[in-house]
Amino acid sequence: MNRLLVILLVCVALPASAQDARKSGFAFMGPDTQAMQTDDLANPGMLSVLEGEALWNAKAGTSQKSCAACHGDAPQSMKGVATRYPAFDDTTQAPLDLAGRILQCRTERQGALAFQREGRELLALTSYVGHQSRNMTIAPSQDTRLAAARAQGAALYSTRVGQLNFSCAQCHDDNAGGHLGAAPIPQAHPTGYPLYRLEWQSLGSLQRRFRNCLSGMRAEPIPAGSADAIALELFLMDRAAGMKLETPAVRP
């Protein structure tokens, strides 16, 4: 009986693991950079998480309320939230990314001045909220109203653009694991954002990463917070469903 069970389990487990060749960008890094990410005391992204925690608890705007005043303790109320973003926003009837949701709370519910999209405060708050889902698996929203945007993201991912005529898929599906000059090409899973990039010497968003790749391709940038950027993020999160979040990750 036990033996049968073991055989059954192996049969079920084998195809699944053999199939999942997906790897986080973490797996493409050297041991030093990996150690920097996993040690909270060495991870420079943790400074932003701490700053985000302070902002979470600070009163702001005409409401003079903090995020905590409405949402309580982030480790409880924000746990798992980042795993299912971007989400469909009923007010605007459009997909919204996590940073966009935080901005919306800030301006409309706190009544405070908007943070800059890629600015330090919004990145800090987003990393604090994202951090509450660390080690949880990506579980994209099943809202059917997201389907069109997700398809738009898939199209963006596989369309050749720029003077160099590359698509994202050519590097991140066809040539992942290879080297572009010195840089190992990862599979482009959005597992760690916002993350600290050594080359940037700062925390940055997924959408900043898009701009980096696009400028390498000599293509028009996709503005942060735009419908295209959110569509691409939706597609990538879906592609990474079931993988673990690492926020705040460290990348070279």
Partner: protein, 149 residues
Amino acid sequence: MWRALGLVAGLVSLAAQAQTLAPYRIEKGAIATSLTGVKGDPAKGRAIVVERQKGLCLLCHSGPFPEERFQGDLAPNLAGTGSRLSEGEIRLRMVDSTKVNEKTIMPPYYRNEGLERVAANYKAKTLLNAQEIEDVIAFLVSLKDDTQK
């Protein structure tokens, strides 16, 4: 001039504001004639190939460039190119590799149309100009050592 242009088959059509490309003809998987009529300079060609912001070749290719660190590994080693391919075959691959392999990742170095979402400062410009293409070809033709095949 216009008559001569009209006579060349398979001409690259010219967008209104696009940089004017030298006409060329693709025949039997090759572009036999020089884009400029001026012999390429292999030394200049080598410099373009190793120049990261210009040729970009070493992002994907490796080759006989012992002084260059961090050569890519996404494409065939360039050593021995001149033994494997004729000058005209190399010219076609430089001008527009998608004419050889539709799915290639190699950028089209002498094409300025049919490209989507090109950044403003590169719009309607080719990656290299016609003489630079000829210089690179002259260099690649000279890579006869076939040990890397």
